[in-house]
Structures are given as C-alpha cells and as structure tokens.
Amino acid sequence: MNRALKNQIKAAGLWLATFVVMVIMCVPGLWVVLSGFRPNREILAKPPIWIPQDLTLSNFAKIFGFGAEQVAIPVLSYFGNSMVIAITSTLIALSIGMAGGYAFARFRFRFKNSVFLGLMLFRAVPGIALSLPVFMLWSWLGIIDTQLGLIIVYVSLNVPFTIWLIDGFFRQIPISLSEAAQVDGCTRWQAFWKIEFPLARSGVAAAGVFAFLTSWNEFALASQLTRSTDSKTLPVGLMDFTAQFTIDWAGMCAMAVIIIVPALVLTFLVQKHLISGLTFGGVKG
C-alpha cells in the first residue's frame, strides 16, 4: 500500500470519527427536531418506539391552524417580530460596536482600560436582576410590548462583546494603511470605509452572528417585556404550548424547528468569516 493511500485512509478515518463525535453531541438536539415530526403518543411511549413509524407534518399544520382544531398559534407574527427585533438590534449593536471598537483600537484616552472593563462588567449583570427594574422603566416610557423596547435591551446585551471583537480586529490592521490613504487625499472617514472596514469585515460578521443568535434565542427578558403579538418573539411563543396541567411537547418541538432553521442557515452562510473573525478579534493586539 502506498503512502498517499494510507494517508487518505487515515484522513477518512479521522473524518468519520469526528463526524460521529459531532453527531453524538447533537443527539439531544436531533431528538427534538425529529420529535417535531412525530405525534405525542409515539414520542412519550413506554416501552419506547425507537424507529419512527408515523412521520407527520400534523404538528406544523396545527401550529398554523390548518384543520382548525384549535386556535392557531400566531407563529407568523412571532416570526416577524423575532426577525425584526434580532436583525435591527444586531445592526444597531454592530454600528455602536464598530464606533466603540474603533475608538479603543485607534485612540489613546484617559481611563481607557477602566471604560473597557466597565462596559464588560455591565454586561455581566444577570437578566433576572434587571427584569423588574427594566420593566418599570419601560412601562414608564410606554415601550412595554413594543419591538422597540426589546431592541433597546438586545442592543445593550450585544454591544460589549461586539466592541471587544471589533477592537481586536482593528488593532490587526496596520494604521499605516489608513495613514497612506489619508496622504493620498482621503479623509479619515473615507479611509475608514475604503481601507479599514473591508479588512475588518470578518470580525464584524463574527460579532454579528453572535449578536443575532443572542437576540434570536433570548427568553428571560423577552418573556417579561412582551405581551401580545405586537412584540412576542419565537422563544416566548414556545410557552404557548404549556398550559396549567399540560405541555404539548410535540407541538413545542415543531415550533423549535421553526426557530432553529433560520439560525442554522445564517450560521452556515457566514461560517468562513466566523472563524477568521474570531481568530483575530479577541486576542492579538
């Protein structure tokens, strides 16, 4: 057997091993996805039914209210709210984070380290400690149960980490590039958009994915600050499947699939940027 072939077999074996490890890691999640396509009596059977015998879309049909057996869950408005809230708050957090990150990377000012650390520590305040005070403040401002109310909260959840990543990224880019552009007649603003920003794109993408996932999946604060279809997000909508005495687990799993798929697609699309973004973002400098 020649050496190249041996290496190939070795590589294939390694790939397979890794794949198996990944799959095992995903089993609890895959079980949820699969359960979305099975009826309750099959998922919760004892003795268990290992091989699905009755794959069905009826859980989804019920969510959307087809068959009119129950009041439909307003999943489209939840989906819309989640999209609007997650995307808007991510974009705002990225802009604020880029400005802040640029300031940390390119300027020297007093209390710089304290300000940086302060921003991080603010993020560490547990959501449960904030839930009531934020609620009171928001109701005073009249933004309870609005998309805006949740967007503001999520922006603040995501700003610190975004600043961190983007700061690290701008440090990577030699300032001489920007200076050269300015010598050539660009303003600092132009130099930023033409030279520095394109180079930092991966970092921005990585920060964006993290921010999006945080906002997309957040439950604790959303469950406090939203009330109706005006602003309820998908994770809060999961609670529609619980009643006082019962939980409709199959329905919840179907809803979970609806939540997971967009996030998974987004993550897959920005994979390439994600790794390189994180590589330079955090540490070097």
Binding site: K62, Q70, V71, R227, T242, A243, F245, T246
Partner: protein, 443 residues
C-alpha cells in the same frame, strides 16, 4: 391536555354550532356597546381555547370588539398581573383569575355583586360562589371548577390472581379504595418498579403543597389555627406527610415524583404504567381516548378516598374571570364575563369534560352524555358533581397562600427524599411560615 386529546374532543364537539343555532340567543341580553373595545387578558392553553371561539358571538350581540392583550398560562399571567399592579398599567378590563390566586391581588378587581344581577348569580353552585369571594367581595365569576378524584385501571381489580393474592397478604378484599390507607396498601401491592407503579403524585411547587394540604385536612388537621398560627406540624400533619414519604420510600411511586407536575402524572397514567392516579376532571377524556392513552376503555373512577379522620380529600379551585376597578366600562366588562360563564358557554366547556359551575349545566350535560351512550363521561360527571358539592374545599383564601406554599414544599420534598424526618421538616416549615405570617401582620 395534548393536541391529540383535543382532536377527538373537537371531533365529538363538531355538533356544537348546530346545537347552538337551536338555542335562542336574545341579542339584547348582553346590552349594547357599539364601537367599544374591551381589553382582556385570558388564560391560554388547549383546554381553555374552545371557549374563546365563542367570543365573536358576544361581539355580534353587543357591537363591541374584544381585544385579547395576552393569552398565557396561569403562572405567566400571574406574573404579568403583578407587574401591572407594580407599574400601574392596569389599563385593561377583564382578566382570567383563579380562586387560589385571587386573594393576592388586593382590591384591583371589582365586587361583581354590584354589576351582575342576582338572577344570574343564582344559577351558580353556591359553594363555588363562596370560594370566589374574598373579604366579602365577589371578585370573580367561576368558569369551571376543578377537584380531583381517583382514576384506576379496572382490569387490575378484576384479575382473580390479584384478588386472591391481595386478600391473603392484606386481609381484606381487593376493591377500589375507600381510604387513603387502602390506597397505600394497594399501591405497594401493584408496584413493580421500574416497569409499573402503584400510584403517583405531583412533587413540587404549589402542586405538592395542595396535595399535602388536602391530606392534612383528611387526617383531621389544619394549616393554621384561628389565630393564623401555622399548625400543620401537628400529629395529623406528620401522618399526612408520612403517607407520601412512605410510598416514595417503598418505591410504590416513580422515583422521579419529587420533580413531577401535572403533565407528568397525567401522561404517566395514560402510558399504562400506573395503577391508581388522583387527578383533575379535565383529564378524563384524555385517559379514555385510544389515540392518547394505553388504558382507554379500562379506566375506573372512584371518589377521592378518606383520611383517618373520615374526611375525603377535596382540594379544589375554580378558573374564573374578574373585572378590574380601573376599567372604563365596567358594564361592558360585566356583560362579557356573564356571557363567558352563561349556560350555553358552560355547556360548550362541559362537553369537553371540564367541570361546570352552574347547577343546571351539571344535570343537562349528564343527560346529554347519557343520551349519547357515553357512560364513562356520565360516571365522571356524577363522581365529580358529588365531590364538588360535598368534599370540595379551597386553601385559605389569603394573599400569603403562595408564599406559605413556597416555604412548605421544599420541606415536604426533604422529608420525601429522606433528608429529614417528617416531623423535622414540618417543624422547620412551620417556623418559616410563622415568619411569613408575622411579616404579613397576622401575628
């Protein structure tokens, strides 16, 4: 209740519109509120939703529009209402309520006797209206009631081997239990862990507090004495708690019960792995539905057994509707809650197996089931009607009930899993409960 249970129930209720078309619906009955928008917060969940499909009829009759601000499960709704009180945002009119939760909310709800006529109120079961009264104010109109009775697997009791073995072992005949002592004996007799269990109970939160509380009453004890001193660490209390501890430690109930809530016990009995199950009436249809339940067709039901004091357990609560004091059109709100609890609406809910609060509906629903040949539901309604009328009692209707429950249930669990003796656990809980009552100004 799962969607599947719902499916069959919905199928059986497909006749509703046809039936309703026959009943005279006088448009003037509920007043006229043209162009008014009534803002409401309702309890959500599969078994509560069919009623809301009726709302459009009220809208048609009165010309008003109903805006449902939120539809959540009761614990979430409770939190939301408390936040509304805190932030002063009670800008809605009608809210779902529950007899156990109502005392917490102080005076945010109106006394409905000022807004609903005596004729209407006369149709309700008197005991249930009494349970809906807090500080002499009728703060809620009951929609449907809940109390628990004992479901069991019939064939186990008919089996000749079981009968002879049980009689030999325990010295009396095997029959559906009359006392909790018998439940305990039979549970141990049937148990064969991990495949089969004698019985089960919910094991955390207000659920276990309520189960302990009804057992305490059945043993002749009380939570508090007349001066609001906690007295549940009495001998009766120890006996009540020991009943749970003993079954748990004997392995006659699933090892996971300290983490069980209502869905676990319901699904557990439906899975055919539990011999007896004390549970709410709302589960009846589910248990007897072949789509969802392995024991369908084999379900027996007997009234909740008695404790050593000769009293039957009967922890009860009712789902209700309340009208806020801040409501800008209390007349419309009162009309709406009267509509949701009227005869026709209760029949809609009764057909789904929910227990009505109007005397007339109990009888008419039974007659209807009998005419349909649905003997099981006839038995269910007879059993539950008897216990609602004779056995039902509520927890103390004080705002501190949930708080007392929260100091009590971790101690109940501690005794169950063997961290403490029953007496120690109850003594500690009583000491903590005393502090709660002191803080609240009772002592």
């Amino acid at each position: 209740m799962s969607l599947n249970a719902f499916k069959t129930m919905a199928a059986s209720a497909a006749l509703i519109p046809a039936l309703l078309a026959g009943t005279a619906f006088a448009a003037g009955d509920y007043g006229s509120f043209e162009d008014y928008t009534l803002r409401v917060k309702l309890i959500g969940g599969a078994q509560y939703e069919p009623l809301y499909a009726e709302i459009s009829k009220w809208e048609e009759a009165t010309g008003a529009t109903v805006e449902i601000l939120s539809r959540k499960n009761h614990f979430e709704l409770d939190r939301e209402i408390k936040q509304d009180i805190a932030a002063g945002t009670l800008d809605w009119c009608v809210g779902s309520n529950h007899t156990s939760f109502a005392p917490q909310y102080g005076n945010i709800y109106v006394d409905l006797r000022d807004h609903v006529s005596g004729d209407v109120l006369a149709g309700f079961v008197p005991l249930v209206l009494e349970h809906s009264t807090v500080n002499d104010r009728l703060v809620q109109l009951p929609r449907h009631s809940d109390v628990s009775n004992l479901f069991y697997i019939k064939s186990l009791y008919q089996d000749a081997d079981n009968q002879s073995q049980f009689a030999a072992e325990y010295g009396y005949d095997l029959a559906p239990p009359e006392t909790w002592q018998q439940v305990s004996d039979q549970a141990k007799f049937f148990a064969n862990p991990p495949d089969f269990f004698g019985t089960q109970f919910v094991g955390k939160d207000e659920a276990i507090t309520g189960r302990f509380y009804e057992m305490l009453v059945a043993e002749g004890g009380q939570l508090f004495n007349d001066g609001w001193e906690p007295t549940f660490n009495s001998e009766a209390g120890v006996r009540a708690l020991t009943w749970f501890v003993d079954l748990y430690q004997a392995g006659a109930v699933p090892a996971g019960v300290p983490n069980y809530l209502w869905d676990d016990t319901g699904l557990g009995f439906a899975s055919g792995t539990v011999a007896m199950n004390l549970d709410w009436g709302g589960w009846s249809a589910f248990f007897n539905d072949p789509e969802n339940s392995k024991v369908a067709g084999d379900v027996g039901l007997t009234r909740a057994p008695k404790g050593s004091a000769g009293i039957r357990t009967g922890w009860s609560g009712s789902h209700t509707f309340s009208v806020t004091e801040t409501c800008d059109n209390k007349e419309a709100a009162a009309s709406f809650v009267s509509f949701l609890t009227d005869y026709d609406r209760q029949m809609v809910e009764a057909r789904k197996g929910l227990l009505p609060t109007r005397t007339q509906v109990w009888d008419d629903a039974k007659a209807e089931f009998r005419a349909d040949g649905n003997d099981f539901l006839v038995t269910v309604f007879e059993t539950y009607q008897a216990s609602m009328a004779e056995d039902a009692f509520t927890p103390p209707l004080i705002p501190e009930w949930i708080e007392v429950s929260n100091v009590l249930w971790p101690q109940l669990q501690a005794a169950m899993i063997g961290d403490k003796s029953a007496k120690e656990a109850l003594d500690e809980a009583a000491a903590d409960a005393r502090i709660v009552m002191e803080d609240a100004g009772y002592l």
